[in-house]
């Protein structure tokens, strides 16, 4: 919870205010990942709180416990999906999609009275899986370190006189200020005693 929400902190009066917004640093794939993260939270909460309803709708009456566990899994993958480490979250969502599809395929058995519902759900999960795959690939690509060129900076010493000639240059006119000293030896510290 941002401290700014709980402390009623507000912008100071004279500070500049936005007149017109510019383009964001968020990419399209960042936004897609975020949407999928929130989708995970919505679905996860539903699975946790209404597993019976879902089970009945899909003809999976014996699998309430499993559906509840899937709810917990959705919430767990929502956390990294909504974080800076989106690829981790999206990868765990994709693994989850596979589990969902496996479970739903058991509801596609011929004897299931709710087979039509299960087929719709199956198609929906396939759609979401495709979105997850796209988001994963794009987030990886747009945040990869590989973007751009690989350069070498071994000619950038920042020391105009060269590293060797610069060593200790500042010691001529700079001493560690007393409040920053950590070094010393017992000889400096013990007052000389009269012979």
């Amino acid at each position: 919870m941002p401290i700014t929400n709980t402390t009623q902190i507000a912008r100071s009066k004279g500070d500049p205010r936005i007149v017109r917004k510019g383009p964001s640093s968020l990419t399209g794939s960042d936004r897609l990942a975020r949407a999928l993260g929130w989708f995970s939270i919505g679905l996860g909460l539903t699975e946790l709180m209404a597993p019976g309803f879902i089970a009945r709708t899909l003809g999976l009456e014996s699998k309430e416990g499993l559906i509840r566990a899937y709810g917990a899994r959705e919430l767990a993958s929502a956390v990294p999906t909504l974080s800076v480490d989106k690829p981790v979250g999206l990868a765990s969502r994709i693994a989850g999609d596979v589990l969902d599809l496996a479970t739903l395929s058991s509801a596609l058995r011929p004897g299931n009275a709710k087979r039509d519902n299960a087929a719709i759900a199956f198609a929906l999960v396939i759609g979401v899986t495709l979105l997850d795959l796209v988001a994963f690939a794009e987030v990886k690509a747009s945040h990869g370190r590989e973007r751009g060129t690989q350069r070498d900076y071994s000619d950038r010493s920042g020391l105009p006189r060269g590293p060797q000639a610069s060593r200790g240059l500042a010691r001529r006119d700079f001493d560690t200020p007393p409040d920053y000293r950590a070094e010393g030896s017992v000889a400096d510290a013990v007052p000389a005693t009269a012979p």
Binding site: P16, Q150, Y153
Partner: protein
């Protein structure tokens, strides 16, 4: 004017905003000629310090020309002056300022009550760095209102490029303070974790202060190559064992001085399993920071050595080996840089060709490319080390 505005996690935009105005007699308005993105901005980009408001202007490394001066600042500043603005805002009069602890100024945090609550006692106002430190609009913009402007500026001469001067605002004095905090002595082996812009400045400072051997640790080849350019021995923590190599390079004794220029966002990887756990805890708000580097420094450091922390930590960090620290008699020093304490001296070293901080700039772009550059810098793409922005 145009400014880079925080809208939420990973959401920074180049917006049009209203121009800043003089609000107090000690204010000045600066027309920004150059500014930069800092590793600290990434913590805000990632919303690790949850005290930002959508609409906050980013940026705390900027310089430019004075265009308006409040009555009380006129003795020290005039229209047309060329100034670098330190990221710390200081009154110059309080007890902390008198001691040179400018990042701890007691008067400039205008949201001091929030600072008191979060930290126990307030610290200085900072530009563009959350409402815990005053919520002041930052300098990734065309204009900047500088509060306490009579004491919050570094006057710089004409005839030297912005590129060489801009980093007096933060990373040069920050790297310098990291080295000074370690009380570097000739003959010391100094290990520096992190070869970002701050680590790079720390390495140069350690050389100037006479360190005999500097060991630079990172995993990005281009950053390690820049560290090696200044004569550092490098360790790539993804392909080598940091502890083994440090022992090898110090005859088994460990470095005298260990400097953390990484901070809260230690790289998460399988080879360092504690970082996986920290990341997981961070996601569910059980921990704020990933203190892998702290743990490694405490373990590697020679007994009686100094741990200098300049990388930013934001809140609670778990599993800090206090037992090792205590039994090894380590000294800890840390702070946000007390920028103006060092800048006169460092400006002189720039003029004297002892250091040229422009070496660290890898990207120079228009302010409107800022949002894109936040991503490039964060992803360490395109061999990006330091981004300079031109409004």
């Amino acid at each position: 004017m145009r400014a880079l505005v925080w809208h939420g996690k990973e959401d920074i935009r180049c917006d049009s905003v209203t121009d800043p105005q003089i609000e107090d007699d000690r204010d000045a308005i600066i027309k920004i000629t150059s500014c930069a993105i800092c590793g600290s901005d990434l913590h805000l980009f990632h919303n690790l310090i949850p005290a930002m408001l959508p609409g906050d202007i980013m940026g705390h490394e900027s310089m430019g020309e004075v265009v308006e001066v409040g009555a009380a600042a006129k003795a020290k500043l005039k229209k047309g002056d060329r100034v670098v603005i330190p990221f710390t805002i200081q009154c110059g009069e309080c007890e902390q300022c008198q001691r040179g602890n400018f990042s701890l100024c007691q008067r400039t945090n205008r949201k001091g009550n929030l600072g008191d609550k979060a930290f126990g006692h307030r610290t200085a106002g900072l530009f563009g760095y959350t409402h815990l430190t005053g919520g002041y609009p930052g300098g990734q913009a065309e204009y900047l209102r500088v509060p306490f402007a009579d004491t919050t500026h570094i006057k710089v001469p004409d005839g030297i490029d912005d590129e060489k001067l801009l980093f007096l605002s933060d990373i040069l004095p920050t790297g310098w303070q990291a080295a000074v905090q370690a009380d570097i002595q000739p003959g010391d082996t100094v290990a520096v974790w992190g070869c970002g812009p701050v680590g790079q400045m720390t390495i140069r400072s350690a050389i100037l202060l006479g360190a005999e051997q500097i060991i630079a640790i990172d995993h990005l080849p281009e950053r390690l190559s820049m560290a090696a350019a200044a004569g550092a021995v490098t360790i790539n923590f993804e392909t080598e064992s940091v502890i083994e190599r440090l022992n090898e390079l110090t005859g088994g004794e460990g470095p005298h001085k260990c400097i953390d220029a990484v901070g809260s966002e230690s790289h998460v990887n399988m080879g360092q399993p504690d970082t996986l756990l920290d990341r997981a805890k961070q996601m569910v708000m059980l921990e704020n920071d990933r203190p892998h580097v702290l743990r490694e420094m405490i373990y590697a450091c020679r007994p009686g050595g100094v741990i200098s922390i300049i990388g930013v930590y934001t809140g609670l960090a778990d599993k800090i080996p206090m037992g090792q620290s205590m039994n090894k008699g380590l000294t800890f020093r840390m702070a946000q840089a007390h920028v103006p304490r060092w800048t006169d001296d460092l400006l002189r070293r720039i003029e004297d060709d002892q250091i040229d901080p422009s070496f660290v700039i890898t990207h120079k772009v228009d302010l409107s490319d800022g949002p894109e550059m936040y991503r490039t810098f964060r992803d360490k793409a395109d061999s990006c080390i330091k981004v300079m922005l031109k409004p």
